[in-house]
């Protein structure tokens, strides 16, 4: 199946992953051979844009472009790890709830609804204050653990409706056990939907991470795009004239969200045939 928005979205993602992976060393070897542009105090701080420093230098005397390029990777990593954690937890719980009828389902449904209404931001802020040394993995796992309820909430009804299909009845009659039914019958048709939810979770996690950084309470010192934006805001780089140091990281975040949004729109069309007929019907 060909779907333009999925293709464009994936292409955009691949592009930024390449920048994230190769960017730091390319910038380093092309523009600053033999220097350490990420070390504090390497240059005079707050230099305006110049051929040597395309987006200037930051308040710590580091090269802005190098900081930007090396911030993309951690941001993406947090999004992917947290998104994967949230999606796997949510899919497991959603499958158990959707597959088990009766009391277990009721219990899990209540649990999901409860966790869903607990506002995550205050809890995240609190955890952020309690944990002394943040690293990327800790932060990602915590973001993921807070994100599962949404996934479970949307996966459960999908499993429930699939479970009632006659081909599943057939599988039950032919003696497949619960695990076989889950992995052979229920999971494959839901994969595009799970991809859709995964991508939403990535967006949610990156959003939360950058939000925490911007209000200044997040994982201080993790070099992410959110941190760069927050630092730029605190150092009022816009007033100094270093536009790029805020617009580039903000733009990169929006770029990633746009790419994932395109993939989602495409997956939605694949998964939800009703959208196709209405679009064609018009």
């Amino acid at each position: 199946m060909r779907n333009t928005s999925i293709v464009v979205g994936i292409f955009m993602l691949i592009l930024i992953v390449i920048v994230a992976l190769a960017g730091p060393s390319v910038v380093n070897s092309l523009i600053f051979p033999g220097e350490r542009p990420l070390m504090r105090g390497s240059y005079r701080p707050y230099q305006l844009d110049s051929p040597e420093h395309p987006i200037g230098t930051d308040g710590d005397g580091r090269d802005g472009l190098s900081v930007f390029v090396s911030s993309i990777g951690p941001s993406l990593q947090i999004g992917i790890i947290a998104g994967a954690t949230a999606t796997s937890l949510g899919v497991i719980i959603g499958f158990v709830a959707g597959y088990a009828k009766g009391r277990l389902d009721t219990l899990l449904r209540i649990l999901i609804d409860m966790v869903l209404v607990i506002p995550t931001l205050p809890l995240l802020l609190m955890l952020a204050a309690y944990i002394e040394r943040w690293d990327l993995y800790k932060l990602s796992l915590i973001l993921g653990i807070f994100g599962w309820s949404f996934v479970a909430r949307v996966i459960r009804p999908q499993v429930q409706s699939l479970r009632e299909r006659s081909y599943v009845d057939l599988a039950v009659l032919s003696g497949e056990n619960a695990l076989e039914i889950t992995f052979l019958e229920l999971l494959p048709p839901l994969l595009p939907y799970i991809g859709y939810v995964f991508s939403l979770s990535i967006v949610g996690s990156m959003l939360a991470e950058a939000g925490l950084q911007i209000i200044g309470l997040g994982a201080g010192g993790l070099p992410t795009l959110g941190f760069m934006i927050a630092k730029g805001f605190r150092e009022s780089v816009i007033a100094i004239g270093l536009l790029g140091q805020m617009l580039l990281p903000a733009g990169a975040l929006i770029y990633v969200f746009l790419a994932l949004n395109l993939i989602n729109t495409g997956l939605d069309e694949v998964f939800n045939p009703r959208l196709q007929t209405t679009v064609e019907g018009e």
């Binding site: 209540i110 609804d113 506002p119 931001l121 204050a129 967006v203 950058a210 805020m246």
Partner: protein, 359 residues
């Protein structure tokens, strides 16, 4: 004879109406029961999450105190301080007892949520009530306006979907919808607030004013609220626009619209009475779904705009590890999200006659 039949038909009609009303009533009661239960359960989960977080808040508080005083640590005094505060906060009791006490005080003691650290000995309850209007004001006004504008705009864009302007509007709303609220807020602060200086970008009202019923104060209040509300509205409004557009397009394919057009109704009547009304119902449900996430966003926006709402209070409370205040704010957020969702859910049968009959 005919009169008799008519009377009987009338009777059964009123009976049906009564039955319908009874069903709506039962639905409301059941929905309210679910609401109370979820409220209790969510508060319980929040309580235990707060207690399960590693690290003793008392130690952190003490660390802050000694650091602020710049003094050598005095073990005996420290013990005394810790014991004192642990007693105030009832932290020596076993966890289940703490929980029961907390619920008992909160429900029977008229929302007694304990003293606060931030403004000791002010009651947490008073603190939260003082800050709440700021948060709710920004939050409800911006969500409501965004919903109105987004729904209207989305209906229009969906209706004229092949118009060039509509396609431009779709691209714009998609871009705005994926932009995080806080980035919009930062942009507004930097450009509207500091670069162009059109609107104030910090605080609830001008520094030299006192809250009073004067035109100067009220206009300052409104001016200060515009940018925080805009940050919320732009993003949510774009989401509602796209949602309503999709709903509108799916309604446009329905047979009853073709029929209405074939009847020779004016395009405006078709749009207003046939397409719009039917697309509206899922859009109201959509309102219920975004309430929670938007409250989170509002907290961040408050902090960025130094707006004296609950989000800012939470950050202050966190600096002091003020357990009671933080918990009260979480409690309030849960209550607000659940209550607003309940209101939307109960309003649905009024909007949609189908739910009224089926439910």
């Amino acid at each position: 004879m005919t009169a008799n039949i008519d009377a009987r038909a009338d009777e059964s009609a009123t009976e049906r109406q009564d039955a319908g009303r009874r069903e709506v009533f039962q639905y409301a009661i059941r929905r309210f029961g679910v609401y109370l239960f979820t409220l209790w359960a969510a508060i319980t989960v929040a309580f235990f999450i707060f207690r399960l977080v590693p690290g003793d808040p008392m130690n952190i508080l003490l660390g802050n105190l000694t650091r602020a005083e710049g003094r050598q640590r005095d073990a005996a005094a420290e013990e005394a301080i810790i014991a004192h505060y642990r007693e105030i906060f009832g932290m020596d009791d076993p966890l289940p007892l703490q929980y029961v006490n907390y619920l008992r005080k909160a429900v029977l003691g008229g929302l007694d949520l304990g003293p606060s650290f931030v403004e000791y000995p002010a009651q947490t309850k008073d603190l939260v009530f003082r800050r709440m209007p700021w948060t709710l004001g920004i939050f409800t006004t911006s969500v409501f306006l965004a919903w109105l504008i987004g729904t209207g705009l989305g209906a229009l864009i969906g209706w004229m979907q092949r118009h060039g302007l509509s396609q431009l509007a779709v691209i714009l709303s998609t871009l705005l919808q994926i932009t995080p609220q806080y980035l919009v807020a930062l942009g507004l602060i930097i450009y509207a607030g500091y670069t162009l200086r059109i609107l104030p970008a910090g605080g609830p009202y001008a520094r030299h004013l006192q809250p009073e019923w004067s035109w100067e104060f009220i206009s300052s209040l409104i001016q200060h609220a515009i940018l925080p509300m805009l940050s919320n509205m732009i993003v949510i409004g774009a989401g509602f626009t796209l949602g309503m557009r999709a709903l509108m397009i799916s309604v446009l394919g329905e047979d009853y619209l073709t029929f209405a057009r074939a009847k020779g109704l004016s395009p405006f009547t078709v749009l207003k009475d046939y397409a719009f009304r039917n697309a509206l119902i899922p859009q109201v449900t959509g309102l219920a779904i975004i309430i929670g996430a938007t409250l989170n966003g509002t907290f961040i926006i408050e902090i960025l705009f130094q707006y004296p709402g609950l989000g800012t209070l939470f950050v202050q409370a966190m600096g002091l590890r003020d357990f009671n205040t933080m918990q009260a704010i979480v409690l309030f957020s849960i209550f607000a999200v659940l209550t607003l969702t309940l209101i939307v859910d109960l309003a649905l049968p009024l909007l949609d006659p189908r739910i009224r009959r089926v439910a």
